[in-house]
């Protein structure tokens, strides 16, 4: 069963002459253990897709299923809980909280989600895989771009979500780091059985994807 599935999803902004169809009849699904790439130029509707798949906003029409449950019309509170428990976000500018150390970013999750987070042993292993074991007491401003990226991934995985949504995860990385990050997402999907969905316009990530969707003017076509 697909961990996440979108059926006939439409998103319309504005009305009348100002109406913009950001998403047109989108059909999409991703399974556990897969890396799925959503590609397309700026303005194609990638970010809108991500906000709807991540339960950050509601579609105008259509269904969004997470673990088989339609989330298109859930309450704000349920949406919060869903994001906290089932969806991990890795955002474009890494978006770590600037006044928290890497370790404290995880502690923040512990404060609002008391159970079901990664245990210490799994977390240690993940941090080692990410190569940031020695950086847990550093603030984001003390880390390089690549280190911040890894810390953001660790933060997203700490709550043990089923789905990892990443927005332009290689936007500010060089080719060597892009390969490392690509391999890392592949490994995370396989080793931790996550559905990893990468929204990007970076073709260097294609070789790590199990499926690739192309977006253009709000329409989505499965390429691979």
């Amino acid at each position: 069963m697909a961990v996440i599935e979108l059926k006939n999803v439409q998103k319309v902004y504005g009305t009348g002459a100002a109406e913009v169809q950001a998403l047109k009849q989108i059909d999409f699904k991703a399974n556990e253990g897969e890396v799925v790439l959503i590609m397309g130029p700026s303005g194609a509707g990638k970010s809108t897709f991500l906000t709807i798949a991540g339960s950050l906003q509601k579609p105008t029409s259509g269904q969004v299923y997470i673990n088989g449950e339609d989330i298109a019309n859930i309450s704000a509170k349920q949406s919060n809980a869903l994001r906290l428990n089932q969806i991990g976000f890795v955002l474009q500018a890494y978006n770590l909280i600037p006044f928290l150390t890497v370790k404290e970013q995880f502690e923040l999750v512990d404060h609002v989600k008391k159970q079901g987070n990664l245990n210490q042993a799994t977390m240690d292993k993940l941090l080692e895989q990410l190569g940031i074991t020695g950086l847990v007491n550093k603030y984001p401003s003390e880390l390089s771009g690549g280190q911040q990226q890894r810390a953001a991934i660790a933060r997203a995985l700490y709550a043990n979500p089923k789905i990892l949504l990443a927005d332009e995860p290689t936007a500010s990385l060089d080719s060597k780091n892009v390969d490392e990050v690509g391999q890392l997402f592949k490994k995370l999907a396989q080793n931790y059985q996550k559905a990893v969905i990468l929204v990007t316009h970076d073709p260097r990530l294609e070789k790590y994807a199990d499926h690739i969707y192309e977006m253009m003017d709000g329409e989505m076509i499965k390429k691979q």
Binding site: N80, A81, A93, L100, L108, V112, R155
Partner: protein, 353 residues
């Protein structure tokens, strides 16, 4: 609380400056409140020490004891119990060749009445003869000693200090307790005058005969010269300080909240509930106010220690409690102003930025 503490720890300078401002405001509030209470107390110290509830004055005296004179006729129907005392008041200048002049209130009392009985001596004894007086401790701080003779209003008669008494000020002036007979001599040339007032410790005491009229003590205190104007001035200043602190806290927190909107959007996207963010903002404000007020209290305590006794400052537990609660309330109200913005944060804004 977690987010609040971590952010303050990380942004020491930024939050240090806010704490500095809260400290300065709370310090000023404590100073002004202490001065207000100190000055008010020096107006009413003696009245409070008498535990007065009602006062009988001449109805034409505009509720002023120093303007009031009660004649034999005015007092002809009065029945004085152990809770009533006759009292004569007049303003005097006390002189002694070796000591500084002191402007004081001469209070003439009768030996068998409670104002005489209740005098709290800190040195010496009570006055037994007409030429003996007991004076407020302010005389002691000005160098006066037991046995010193006072010349009052330049009269030929001299009055010997036989005791010092505490908490004996009225209208900010120290009291010289003497006999009613001495008071009558100081008010020379006024026949049939018996006293300025009757002071009663009985809340139900009521005597209205001839020119006599009974007033509740609160009304009498309110009419003390300058007392209400002085208190209102202080209350206005303290009120404004609270308003200023409310504005400062609200503006600072609002600016800080606006600067953190992206962080809030990220946290909301990560599933952190709005109530956690609101609680962080409110608790941050409470922490800043508590730290600022504690420093303010410490500074105030030191100030009260080093200020000379001549400064009428009274740093009481009530001031500590009300000042602290007032600042806390101000801080909480101030922190609620940016709450609406926090609740309106759109987590979708975290994407694509």
């Amino acid at each position: 609380m977690f987010l609040a503490i971590k952010e303050i720890k990380r942004e020491k300078l930024r939050y240090g400056l806010i704490i500095l401002m809260i400290f300065l405001i709370s310090y000023l509030i404590f100073i002004l409140s202490s001065l207000a209470v100190g000055l008010a107390s020096e107006n009413t110290q003696a009245i409070e020490s008498w535990d007065a509830k009602q006062v009988v004055l001449n109805k034409n005296a505009n509720v002023s004891m120093s303007q009031s004179l009660l004649t034999k006729d005015d007092l002809s129907k009065t029945k004085l119990t152990k809770n009533e005392a006759l009292l004569g008041q007049t303003l005097v200048v006390a002189k002694n060749s070796n000591r500084p002049q002191v402007s004081a209130q001469f209070i003439g009392v009768k030996k068998d009445q409670f104002i005489y009985d209740d005098q709290e001596l800190i040195a010496g004894r009570k006055a037994k003869k007409d030429r003996e007086v007991v004076v407020d401790q302010a005389f002691q701080t000005k160098g006066y000693k037991l046995g010193d003779k006072l010349e009052l209003n330049g009269s030929a008669n001299k009055y010997r200090i036989v005791g010092f008494v505490k908490n004996a000020k009225i209208n900010i002036a120290p009291i010289i307790y003497g006999s009613l007979a001495s008071w009558r001599k100081l008010r020379q040339g006024m026949p049939n005058i018996k006293a300025s007032a009757i002071i009663s410790r009985n809340a139900n005491y009521n005597y209205n005969h001839a020119n006599s009229k009974t007033y509740p003590i609160a009304q009498f205190i309110k009419k003390l010269p300058g007392y209400t104007a002085q208190n209102m001035t202080f209350q206005l200043m303290i009120g404004f300080l609270f308003v200023i602190s409310l504005i400062i806290i609200a503006v600072f927190l609002y600016i800080l909240t606006m600067q953190k909107m992206h962080n809030f959007a990220v946290m909301r996207a990560q599933g952190i509930p709005s109530r956690t963010l609101v609680a962080a903002t409110v608790s941050q404000s409470v922490i800043l106010v508590v730290v600022g007020v504690i420093i303010g209290l410490a500074a105030m305590w030191l100030t009260a220690k080093v200020l000379p006794a001549a400064v009428p400052m009274s740093f009481t537990p009530q001031i500590i409690l009300s000042g602290t609660c007032g600042m806390l309330l101000t801080g909480i109200i101030g922190s609620l102003i940016p709450v609406r913005s926090i609740l309106k944060v759109d987590p979708a804004k975290a994407i694509g930025e």
